[in-house]
């Protein structure tokens, strides 16, 4: 479904991604881990075309294919309409709007107003946000905003969902809710999902395959236990000491 083919991305003189190649199959659940500065978020940025201001959206080398279509030079809005949705590392809800309006804008590109209302009501119930539907986002805690951001992205039912640290700032039952949602979206809606995350326990509960990045390169990939026992990963990401899953 998604092919990242020898992609390189430079931020000025800094190499953020170096010759990254990976493939994600349809309906797959993939996790991406790596220490800070490994290039995880840059990878999501390059795939979606959403770059920080002043940085060109195109990769400096290589190509990205989604369902066989080369999207390397496509503008971000067009990529999103093709069916690639994403969330951000720092929560990015529309602060001056209400919860309802945020979800409504998630469905902006759809035309059927009745269908939009039905979907919003369904999602508000699923996330137990009904009571705060008309509350301004700015007054809500970051954890709740994170859930709204995820809800706003999945409401449009993208074919490929990219979640950038979805568990950051979220505690307790909300974590399980996100894990349950990821599985539900994957199984019932056939969504392909890539999750970038630092919290390994939650990530390994979510995904089947893990890709490890370090200094802009993919250094390992495989099942969670295989990856964790990989010596290169221990050195790059976990340090020299042995760390077990869930610790």
């Amino acid at each position: 479904m998604l092919v990242v083919d020898h992609v390189t991305k430079l931020y000025g003189g800094i190499v953020a991604l170096s010759n990254v190649t990976l493939q994600v199959s349809e309906r797959e659940l993939v996790g991406i881990i790596g220490p800070n500065g490994a290039g995880k978020t840059t990878l999501l940025n390059v795939i979606t075309g959403v770059m920080p201001p002043g940085i060109p959206r195109r990769p400096d080398g290589g190509k990205i294919f989604f369902k066989g279509v080369d999207i390397s030079s496509w503008p971000a809005w067009k990529i999103a309409r093709l069916g690639i949705g994403r969330t951000f590392q720092a929560v990015r809800c529309f602060q001056s709007l209400t919860v309802f309006d945020n979800l409504y804008l998630g469905l902006w590109i759809q035309k059927n107003e009745k269908e939009k209302k039905r979907k919003i009501t369904e999602l508000l119930e699923f996330f137990q946000l009904k009571e705060i539907a008309n509350a301004p986002i700015a007054r809500l805690p970051v954890g709740t905003q994170r859930i709204i951001e995820i809800a706003r992205t999945v409401i449009n039912e993208p074919k490929l969902l990219l979640l950038d640290e979805p568990f950051a700032g979220i505690v307790g039952s909300d974590c399980y809710k996100i894990i349950a949602l990821v599985h539900q979206l994957n199984k019932e809606h056939n969504m392909t999902i890539m999750v970038v995350e630092h919290r390994l326990q939650e990530l390994f509960n979510c995904v089947n395959r893990v890709i490890v990045m370090h200094e802009g390169r993919v250094i390992a990939e495989g099942l969670a236990n295989e990856v964790i026992s990989n010596p290169a990963v221990k050195i790059a990401y976990l340090g020299e000491s042995d760390v077990s899953v869930g610790s």
Binding site: R86, F88, R92, F94, D101
Partner: protein, 310 residues
């Protein structure tokens, strides 16, 4: 009945009352008041046009006067060519929009200070062009037009255009499209990631702003019968749009009208009482406003209301 007279209705009663007062002044006031109402309606329209881009989109334009100037020139030229008044006025707005497409295509991709400089450069460029095209614009000497309308009719029409623009802005700020504009101002990248064509939305807003600024320029030309490049592309008019919007409350539908009314009344009062130093006093007043009421009069009123109710 009680519900109708509830607090929620008062802002609309005040708005309707204000518009009625302006029309009464046009019909029954002395020429001074007619002229005052014309200027008020024209600057309110310009401030609303600036606010659409500066407040709603978050793009501070330093060259917005160019759309007003283009509207004035196009209306004047077409009237001299024998076009009918409504067609000449409308064409002024449409040509302003066309120029806005060209300028917007290049500057709306910029952000922050680069957009401000881009629009300023465009206005200055057009000023030079207007001075250079002597055969069409009359050059630096200016363009004269025989009187077309009397002051009362002119003020009445300007006031109606201003009211119409206000209704459009109210509708826009409460509509779904208004929420979309707000969302883009809040976080452009998040909007793009949802598949929203941000540039297209921005360009549409920019065009609407240019249309009404162009119409205001056309009415100015009809009222004064003279325009020259120095006036048509005068940066101080852009600055006035900006100040009036900031005074009232940037990013709100009511802000520009409140700010323009406040600015013009205070300015007139100071001019009558202190003719030699009225601009200095106005400047001091504006500095005080900026220091203590950054959100403008609307925000100040809101804060006072909260303070009183608590």
């Amino acid at each position: 009945m009680r519900r109708f007279w509830g607090l929620k209705q008062w802002p609309w009663i005040v708005r309707m009352g204000f518009i009625a007062l302006l029309y009464l002044l046009i019909y029954f006031g002395r020429p001074y008041f007619k002229s005052f109402v014309f200027s008020l309606a024209m600057f309110a329209t310009l401030s609303m046009a600036w606010n659409l881009v500066g407040g709603f989109l978050g793009y501070v334009s330093f060259g917005h006067v160019m759309f007003w100037g283009i509207g004035a020139y196009v209306t004047a030229i077409l009237l001299k060519l024998g076009w009918s008044l409504p067609l000449a006025l409308l064409s002024g707005g449409i040509v302003s929009m066309t120029v806005a497409v060209i300028i917007g295509m290049s500057t709306l991709k910029l952000s922050g200070v680069y957009f401000a400089i881009g629009t300023l450069a465009a206005a200055e460029g057009l000023k030079i062009l207007a001075a250079y095209l002597k055969n069409i614009t009359g050059g630096g000497g200016g363009f004269y037009l025989p009187p077309v309308l009397d002051l009362q009719t002119c003020a009445l029409l300007m006031c109606t255009v201003c009211a119409a623009f206000y209704v459009v802005l109210c509708y826009l700020s409460n509509s779904k499209y208004g929420k979309l504009i707000q969302a883009i101002r809040d976080d452009e990248q998040a909007a793009v990631a949802l598949g929203i064509h941000v540039f297209q939305v921005r360009l549409r807003v920019f065009l609407l702003s240019a249309l009404f600024a162009g119409l205001a320029g056309g009415f100015y030309m009809i009222n004064t019968s003279f325009i020259n490049p120095a006036t048509a592309f005068d940066i101080s008019i852009t600055v006035r749009m900006l100040v009036m919007t900031l005074l009232g409350g940037i990013g709100t539908a009511d802000g520009p009208i409140i700010g323009t009314t406040f600015y013009m009344i205070i300015s007139e009062l100071l001019w009558v009482r202190f003719p030699e130093i009225h601009k200095i006093m106005l400047g001091i007043l504006l500095v005080i406003m900026v220091l203590f009421a950054r959100g403008g009069i609307i925000d100040l009123a809101r804060r006072v209301k909260v303070h009183v109710s608590s």
